[in-house]
Every structure is written in C-alpha cells, then in structure tokens.
Symmetry: C2
Subunit: 341 residues, 2 copies
C-alpha cells in the first residue's frame, strides 16, 4: 500500500497498466483473464489496495455475488451454528453472505424476504419458520430468487430441500431407548412451530409399533419459540398429573428437553440412567448446549457439517447454471450418548 488513493476502477486500471473492462472482468472472475494479466493486476492491488465500489458493481451486474442466509431464530445456538457454517462456505466459494433472522415472527420473515429481494441476491439459503410461515409469500419469493430451503421443509418450493432425516432421528433414538430401559413416551408441543416435529412424532409412533410397544404422546401447550420455558411449564404439569406413562421421556427436541430437565430439578426428580435416578430424558437435535445440561443430555445430533455442505453446494451448483429437478435430501443423525438416558 504505497501510492495515493485510488478513486475508481478507471484510475486503478491506469496504474496497473490494464484496460478498465479487463480489470472489471478480473474482479468478476479472476480466472477469466490471462494469468500474466492477473499477475499484473494483483501486483497493482498490493500497491494500492483498491476495492471496487460494490454498489456500482451490483447495480449493473446481471447477477450479484450476494447470498442471503435466513434462519428462523438466530438466538437459538443451533441456528446460529448452522448459519455460521453456511456463512463460511459462502465466503469460501466467493460469495458475499448476509445473515438474517426471522426472529420467530412470520411477519418479520416476510419483511426479511422483501429486504432480500431488493438485495438482488444470486441465491438464498432459507430455513423457514415452518407452520407459521406465509406460504404464499415464500412461494412467490422462491419463484423470483433461486432459493434453497434447509432445516425445515415447506412443500416442494425452491430449488431443493436439505435437512435432517427426522424419521431416522426418532427411530434411531427410540430404538436405543427401548433397548436400554423402559420404552419411552414422547414429549412434544401440541402446536409445534416446526414441521419436523410432526415427522418425529410419527416416527416415534411407527417405531413403537414396530417394536411392539404401546406409544404414549404427551402434547403440551405453548406458543412461540421459547421452547425451554414451554418445556419447563409443560414438564411441571405433566409431572404433577403423572402424565408420563414410563420412566423414559423422549423429547421432540433438545430445547424442550432442557426445559424438562429444569422442571425435574425443580421437582427434585433425579434424571439419568443411574440406579438412583427416577427418569431418563433424551432430546433430539444435538443442540450446542446439550453437552452442558445436568445431567448432560443424551440426544441425536444433526450432522451440521454435512447439512450445510450439501445445502451450500446445491445452491452454488444451481446458481452456476446447473438446472436440476427439485430434490429433497435428508441426512442421518448421530446418536450422542450421555448421562441423561
């Protein structure tokens, strides 16, 4: 960084001894210019640290390099983690990711999509709110912007869907619980925000039938995204009423389980698989926090890396021109055995 400040691409082209259109081409795709030219531009870049004006760039480009990443609730570490993962993959692939959270609010989700639309992104990685989402708005957005849906599926919209195999999740952990103790009952929200919850319930019912056990589902009240509190309150009520039919409780997700663990603590009920424990509790998701609950939570974890890799690559492929029919990819989870079950 020596020379005076470079004001625009014209000046930068002059100092690097290359024509402006070629410089423009370089910034659009460094591989599209001859390697000797690329070397000269990069040498000049070291001297002058010029960066093209992104507004002027994006105004005229047919396709920006922007990628939107939208999650339902960024304050949920699960989504924060997957968003971070996706963000890094976008950067690595030469895109400019922008992060958005719907904050659990369908109206805000629509606003986010509107904002996103005005960003003219090359593509969007969208984890919809689910049940509460404005289907029509989503559909319209997907028809305008190349959108890959992840985490939670809403019909067959967008380019494709990538997420976890919730049937496998619940079947697998139900199997584990049945083999190691009393068959589990299933603890869930009556009106879950996320459609994955329905698959999990169904998978639980299937698995129990297959194993020859009688299923038992406890559906608790509660609206919104405060799952821990919903789980805690629902747990208190269920414990009070004796709604749990066995000593083993499989929760629809980890955050619900975390709330239930708190309820158990508050009711002085010892959780775990030891002889001195009254009940076993398991979750589903492999939530970043699940390692640190007391007891640490047995759960079945998303394959964060594989989900984000598959999702990101599918989007990039589509952006770069490969058209392929809508497809749903569901990845298996991995059982994580800890002390709670």
């Amino acid at each position: 960084m020596t020379g005076g400040k470079i004001r625009n691409m014209e000046e930068f082209a002059r100092v690097s001894g290359i024509s402006r259109p070629t410089v423009s081409k370089y910034f659009n795709d460094p591989g599209s210019v001859r390697s000797s030219t690329r070397a000269r531009i990069e040498a000049a870049l070291e001297q002058h640290d010029y960066r093209p004006n992104i507004y002027a760039m994006n105004q005229n480009r047919k396709l920006t390099k922007n990628v939107g990443v939208v999650v339902p609730l960024l304050s949920d570490p699960y989504f924060a983690e997957i968003a971070r993962n996706l963000e890094q993959r976008c950067i690595a692939a030469g895109y400019r990711p922008t992060l958005f959270s719907s904050h659990g609010d369908p109206a805000f989700e629509v606003e986010v999509l509107e904002t996103l639309r005005s960003l003219k992104p090359a593509g969007v990685l969208l984890a919809p709110l689910g049940r509460a989402s404005d289907r029509q708005a989503l559909e319209k957005f997907c028809s305008d912007v190349p959108t890959l849906i992840f985490d939670s599926s809403v019909d067959e919209i967008g380019l494709a869907f990538v997420g976890s195999d919730n049937f496998q999740f619940t079947a697998h952990i139900t199997d584990y619980l049945c083999r190691t103790g009393e068959p589990p009952c299933f603890f869930e929200m009556k009106t879950p925000a996320n459609p994955n919850a329905h698959r999990r319930r169904q998978s639980y019912l299937n698995a129990m039938q297959e194993f020859g056990h009688t299923p038992h589902v406890i559906s608790i009240d509660g609206e919104g995204w405060g799952f821990e509190e919903i789980g805690r309150l629902g747990g208190h009520e269920a414990l009070q009423k004796g709604s749990f039919s066995t000593n083993t409780i499989l929760c629809s997700n980890d955050r619900l389980a975390i709330g239930l663990l708190t309820a158990c603590y508050e009711k002085n009920i010892r959780v775990g698989r030891g002889d001195d424990c009254a009940i076993r509790v398991a979750g589903q998701d492999g939530h970043p926090h699940s390692r640190y609950t007391c007891p640490p939570l047995t759960t079945i974890s998303h394959n964060y890396d594989a989900v984000s890799q598959t999702a990101a690559e599918a989007l990039f492929t589509a952006i770069e021109g490969q058209v392929s029919p809508w497809k749903s990819t569901r990845l298996e989870g991995k059982l994580i055995l800890r002390d709670s079950a």
Copy 2:
C-alpha cells in the same frame, strides 16, 4: 398492487404525478416533503409497490442508511440477544442494519471491518473481541467510520462506549453472597478474551477487602470462546485439587458457571443454597440460558434493553450531526436470585 411493474423511480414518479427529485427526497426522508405530497406518493406506493434500487441509491448518496452491527460471537445467545435488540432499534429509527459476527477470530474481525467499510455505513455498533482485537485496525476503522463501541471497551476509540458497569456487577453480587453465606472465591479464566473480566476480578478483590474478607481467585487455563468447556475442565481440576477455598464460587461469567455446574454434576457435588448442598455457584451476565441450568443460576444480569437503547441512540445522535466528546456509559446490572446461590 394493481398496475404493471414499475421499473424505476422515473416511472414511479410519473404514475404518482410527482417529479422524480421530489420522490427521491421522499424516500430519503418522508418528512421532508409536504404532507399532501407525501400522501400522494404513499397512495401510489399502495398501488404499485415500488422500491428504490438500493444500489443506485447508495452509490450516489453521501451517507447511506446502513448500520453495521458487529458482535464477537453470534452463537453466544447473549450476543445474539443484544444484536437482535439493536437490529430492531435500527429498523425503528429508519436505518438498515446488517449483522456480523467475528466468530471469536481477530483476523475475521478485521475482515468484517473491511467488508463493512465497503458498505459505506452511516454508522457501526461494534462489540470488539477485546484482548485479541487488532487495536490498530480497530482504531483506523473508527477514524473512518462513525463507530460506537459497546459491551467491551478498547481504549477511548470510536464515538463513545456503552456497556455494563462491571465494578457494580461484581461488587453487588459479591455483597449478596457475603451476606447470605460464606464469602465467595472467584472463578475465572487466566487469559480472558474479554477485558470486562479484569474489571470483575478487580471489583471482587475490592469488595472482599471492603467487607473484611480474604479474597481467593482461581484462574483456570483455556483459550478461545468455548467458555462452557473451559469452565467444565477448569472446574474438574479445581474440584480435584480442592482449590476452592470456600463453599461459594462466584464465576466471572455465566458461561463459565454453566461449565462449572456441569463439572459439579459430573463429580456428584450438589449445588445450591439448600442444606443438602455442598457449594453455591453464581454467575454474571444474566445469560439467556441461565434460567434453565440445574440448579437455575443466580446471576447479575445486564440491562439488555438499556444498554442497547443507550448505544443505539448515541449512534443515531452522532450520525444525525450532534458531535459530542467521547464518553463512557456504564449501566448497572440487576441481581437475579435463583437456586444456585
């Protein structure tokens, strides 16, 4: 939304019967045009749902309406929560917030600032990584872009600093612990990422001296932002060695406390203030998760709302032209009594 698609402001101006420069003025600041004109534009807006091209807008505007919000680690729900709060205040004030996480990495923090710079933001709300931050890069950025520092202070850079009063935090909770049981020892990281940790240790030492007790600090090893794991491992070691001099442990922050609680669980040590409990554990921060630990964590909470409101307003005031000398605002925290101490 009736009429055909509007391509640009020219067309929109035509259908609304207003000149383009006035329409432009409206979008820049709706209050700057006569109310009758505003009404006509807004009527047209209902009919045609036109939105100005943000790239063309920002290219020419001297000052964009963009505001960057940068936190050290978005997967920490504490930062996610404060980021959400700030984001909403920006929107309410008519700005366009963009969220960034440094992901705990000083090199990435610098990259974020570079990205931000090319966004030509009107202002930035920045929570620095702290000790690991590239001071020079931060300082240079602050001299180019109106930046308000929050959460963790780095010298006297930027427009101002807004955060919590860590001295008050620790003094207050230390006082509480002393009054209700054995005086606490202090559990912290040897090389904390965040400078607030130093203030808290110092405040602990001051408070203990003032109350006439002998302070005792346990400084544990560990690098990075995986505080729970650091707290858990450090907790195991300290418990093993009998490093805790009293039955009461005040942790430098909630995440460390969460890890310590897990260690206690794993060592079968009962935590709480009941007669059957061996030790008391308290945290600091009012972390969103602290309600759901087992036992629920006694802590002293940031005033999230007040911090974000003060920070946001200070930035907006500065953006809108009010120059005022650098100032540090530190807000008091509120004690939250739960079962752990």
